[in-house]
């Protein structure tokens, strides 16, 4: 019942939207105020309908009605309330609804605030995008084709041919399939709403650009459009930041950015939007660059829709690992992008001759020229990323079945561009606030250049930078920070309200510095043994079992309980055990790793977590997942996770044994023969027995073979703890030579009472440890070890700082431009 209501209101929303679209169009053509008022009412009605429908979907999710495919697919009974709520926009269908809702709110704001000549055409474009978005979720079956996929469809509708549906059409699953554990993060809860607010606001400059072409008023539109574009960019930036932060903290790939199509999908509209902002600023100040600001306003929204098309139509699914559910929306999405392109670019070309342009060209040393340069550089970067992301389509020009480009492609092109951009920001900012000749500009630059050079030299020396290219990059980053910083200081004295742009440019410079430091100078944390092993690999001295040289260095190391290891000649690292708890996830283990800086710094602990993935684990198989622990610091982050542990290996082995026993009930346990390394004075337990290596004792000459070089006994105390019975054995270990070759001799000593043989099988002189081997022990030695993957990433904090400065700069500019726009209206 609730679902039918939800579905009905969704369809109703689309129906009234189409009516509203016609009304807005008529109102714009006839300049009829009355029609526009009606259409505004329709806008509000549509918003109400979508709200009711969303409420219905949330109700179904909250009440666990698993007969609905969407509810079943994204939620489960054990999901916490906040994640149940966010599951509303967790799937493709719901995220379209959220996008519609965000668009509705933005539209409501436009109705309230937009100036007269633009309102009807702006709302026409807004309504057009809403019609398309709503059409993705209505789920109309027209017989010859289907329009959209409704979030209210039942499992029976989703998979009518499934055997259990054919057997019982009213089948209701007992529980849902649940939300992926990796997505159970507060960052992931707020990420989608922010990105859709950004997408919705990015519609506004597009709508204003179309209205400007429609009404042939090319000057005024940027005044209301500019604050919206800034706000859209702020939202996208925040969303990109949240996504990057989530990836860094949650996924174990070790970074915040991987140039992956989904990340690029939000970056490209941001870059082109920023290019648009630059062009709009020139137009507002100097009444030029009309063509550019129109073009970029149109292109930014096209980028939003194009990237939506790439990520949601299934185009990437075939080619990329980042596949999205294919709801059969390919045709609709294609139509959407075609209509937007035709409306935007078509209209633009149609009016191209009429758009005002200035005959006189700008001098190179002018704020117009420099700002325009910024705009073009941003556009070029966006264009390159679009080319890379479009590899499933464009790659076909070169090969069949193309792969995504190598990461190197993005780095090779974005690094030189970033260097040019960084230098251009400083020259641009100096010219922005004051007219300059080459001489006066050079004079102004002397001081920042000196400071920049000092900072660069210090960075190169202390960061041990050897690569010339990176040196130039670091110089450019510092120049952007310091040059723009100097502009900021002089602006703060004059008019602090104007600092928005300068702050963003400082943030950009800081971002570059943080990126180069944290990505190029990340070092793995490894113990001495692994470091030596890697040196041998680098020298080509290590071969695998098939005789091929090993080329990949080992990037992890093993820690045994309470045995400290020196890591990177910097920290003594000790594994101090783990705790198992059932909260928040059943069976999760928190490991305790102690770091003691050997130069006397403060001791700290890392607490990485390993947990079973609930959504995919079953009785026979546990899928383990890790929570990375990141210790954030001003200078560097330590990034660490547990890649394996005795506990996890034991659980897996138990399950494996269980399976073997189920399959072969009469399978006999083999005679167990186990070895363990033990230090002098140490006690190791195995079931009810404990083994203590008391000390070395000398071996008498009669006991050892001839030509013995080493002959030693180990005094080992074996105790059966429940009974308190204990034996001391002194097994022998000897190395002797015969015919010029060395042999080891380690005869067993039997403990008849427990039917157990003890061998002294090896010796490790450098660590004062020996290996004992025991036969006839049913239980295993209770070793406790963890495999650690850890990295030190310098200056990730600067990446975040740069991002925050960008956000702050955008916010200051929004307030300023919005304030002026409001003042102009009154």
């Amino acid at each position: 019942m609730i679902a039918q209501i939800g579905n009905l209101f969704l369809s109703g929303a689309l129906a009234v939207s189409i009516a509203g679209l016609i009304l807005y169009a008529l109102s714009a053509i006839r300049e009829d105020k009355k029609l526009e008022t009606y259409a505004n009412w329709i806008w509000m009605t549509k918003g109400l309908f979508v709200l009711i429908s969303s409420g219905a979907l949330i109700y179904l999710i909250m009440t666990h009605q698993f007969q609905y495919y969407y509810v079943w697919n994204y939620t489960s009974l054990d999901l916490e309330t906040q994640y149940l709520f966010s599951a509303f926009y967790g799937g493709q269908e719901g995220s379209f609804m959220l996008w519609v809702l965000c668009g509705f709110l933005v539209g409501a704001g436009l109705i309230r605030w937009t100036r007269k000549p633009y309102r009807a055409p702006v709302m026409f474009v807004m309504m057009l995008t809403q019609v398309f978005l709503l059409s993705m979720v209505v789920g109309w079956d027209l017989g010859f084709t289907k329009i959209g996929a409704s979030p209210f469809r039942t499992i029976a509708q989703e998979m009518p041919n499934a055997p259990f549906i054919q057997a019982n059409p009213d089948f209701v699953p007992a529980d849902g399939s649940g939300l992926n554990d990796l997505l159970k993060s507060p960052w992931m809860m707020i990420h989608p709403p922010i990105i859709f607010v950004g997408f919705a606001m990015m519609t506004v400059p597009f709508a204003f650009a179309i209205s400007s072409l429609w009404t042939k008023t090319y000057h005024e539109w940027i005044r209301p459009a500019l604050p919206w574009t800034l706000a859209a960019n702020l939202s996208l930036l925040t969303a990109i930041f949240l996504g990057g932060y989530w990836a860094y903290e949650t996924l174990s790939f070790g970074g915040y950015w991987a140039w992956d199509p989904v990340e690029n999908a939000s970056l490209v509209p941001w870059l082109i939007g920023t290019a648009g902002i630059h062009a709009m600023i020139i137009q507002r100040m100097s009444a030029r660059a009309h063509k550019a600001s129109l073009f970029f306003a149109i292109l930014a929204y096209m980028a939003v829709i194009y990237q939506t098309f790439l990520t949601r139509s299934g185009v990437l699914a075939e080619q990329s690992v980042h596949s999205f559910v294919d709801l059969g929306l390919y045709g609709q999405l294609l139509l959407f992008i075609l209509v937007i392109t035709l409306l935007g670019i078509g209209f633009y070309l149609f009016r191209y001759k009429e758009i005002p342009s200035v005959d006189k060209e700008s001098k190179i040393l002018s704020k117009e020229f420099m700002t325009f340069t910024g705009s073009i550089l941003l556009f070029i970067l966006g264009f390159i990323i679009i080319i890379g992301t479009s590899s499933p389509i464009l790659g076909r020009l070169f090969v069949d079945n193309p792969t995504p480009p190598e990461i190197q492609f993005y780095n090779d092109w974005s690094m030189p561009l970033a260097i040019i951009m960084a230098i251009a920001t400083v020259i641009g900012q100096y010219l922005f606030w004051q007219k300059h000749t080459w001489e006066s500009l050079a004079e102004k630059m002397i001081f920042p250049l000196i400071i920049t050079s000092i900072a660069t030299v210090i960075s190169i020396v202390f960061g041990e930078v050897r690569n010339l290219y990176y040196m130039v990059f670091i110089f450019a980053g510092w120049f952007a920070v310091i040059g723009n910083g100097a502009v900021l200081l002089s602006l703060l004295r004059k008019n602090p309200k104007l600092v928005g742009g300068t702050v963003t440019h400082i943030g950009f410079g800081a971002l570059l510095l943080g990126i180069i430091a944290s990505s190029v100078y990340t070092e793995p944390l490894l113990d001495q043994q692994t470091t030596r092993y890697n040196a041998r690999i680098a020298a080509g001295d290590v071969f695998d079992e098939e005789g091929f040289p090993v080329t990949q260095p080992v990037e992890m190391f093993e820690l045994e309980l309470n045995r400290p290891k020196l890591v990177n000649e910097k920290y003594m690292v000790t594994y101090e055990g783990f705790e198992v708890s059932d909260s928040p996830r059943p069976g999760q283990q928190t490991y305790r790793i102690k770091f003691e800086p050997i130069d006397g710094g403060r001791t700290f602990y890392m607490d990485p977590v390993v947990y079973p993935m609930m959504t995919t684990s079953s009785m026979n198989n546990i899928d383990w997942s890790v929570d990375v622990h990141v210790r954030t610091g001003w200078l560097s982050d330590i990034y660490l996770y547990v890649a394996g542990s005795q506990y996890v290996a034991d659980r897996n082995e138990e399950l494996e044994n269980q399976r073997v026993r189920d399959e072969l009930p009469e399978a006999l346990a083999e005679e167990e023969r186990q070895s363990i390394e033990i230090h002098q004075g140490e006690t190791i337990e195995a079931g009810p027995f404990s083994f203590t290596f008391v000390q070395f004792t000398p071996a008498s000459e009669e006991a050892v073979p001839e030509n013995t070089q080493i002959g030693v006994r180990a005094q080992i105390r074996v105790e059966h703890r429940p009974s308190g019975n204990a034996y001391e054995v002194e097994p022998l270990f000897a190395v002797y030579t015969e015919d010029g070759r060395s042999y080891t001799y380690s005869p067993p000593l039997s403990i008849d009472r427990w039917n157990m043989d003890v061998y002294f099988s090896s010796i490790f002189p450098e660590s004062d440890a020996i290996e004992i081997t025991v036969e006839g022990l049913d239980e295993e030695f209770e070793e406790d070890w963890v495999l650690i993957v850890a990295e030190r990433k310098p200056y990730v904090s600067v990446v975040w700082l740069g991002t925050f400065l960008l956000m702050a700069g955008f916010s200051i500019s929004i307030l300023r431009h919005w304030g002026r726009e409001k003042a102009a209206q009154e």
């Binding site: 007992a174 992926n180 080619q319």
Partner: protein, 131 residues
């Protein structure tokens, strides 16, 4: 005006061809395990074959598993790192590396992202779903 326009057009054409040339070089094509045997570096798409043994070895510090490519060839894959976080959940794997003696040595491995938009391909009916 004319020469400037010419320079502009020329540099745009130069830039675009350079970009496309570099782009063309940086992409490659997906192959199956059999084709990979004749290549130095290949991308192979496939699925984890969970009926065969898999696991991380503490001796060699490598994760090894069997993967079935899209044409049904099953090969052992060796990956020199721990098992990635979302390995079991990945509905598709891409391994990048080279084939030696019928064993694929992966330098890199990509998993289908644990995205909210992913379709869950395993549908368990209620009889087992509640367990």
């Amino acid at each position: 005006m004319k020469p400037k326009l010419l320079i502009g057009v020329f540099s745009i054409v130069l830039f675009t061809s350079l970009l496309m040339y570099n782009f063309g070089n940086s992409i490659s094509t997906y192959v199956n395990f059999e084709q990979a045997a004749d290549r130095t570096n290949s991308h192979v798409v496939g699925k984890w074959d969970n009926t065969k043994e898999s696991g991380f070895s503490r001796e060699t510090m490598q994760f090894s598993f069997h993967m079935e490519d899209e044409d049904g060839n099953v090969r052992r894959v060796v990956y020199p790192r721990p098992k990635p976080n979302n390995f079991e959940q990945a509905t598709q794997l891409v391994v990048i590396g080279s084939m030696r003696n019928n064993v694929f040595y992966a330098d890199e491995m990509l998993m289908k992202c644990p995205s909210k938009y992913n379709e869950n391909p395993d549908f368990e009916p209620a009889e087992t779903a509640g367990m």
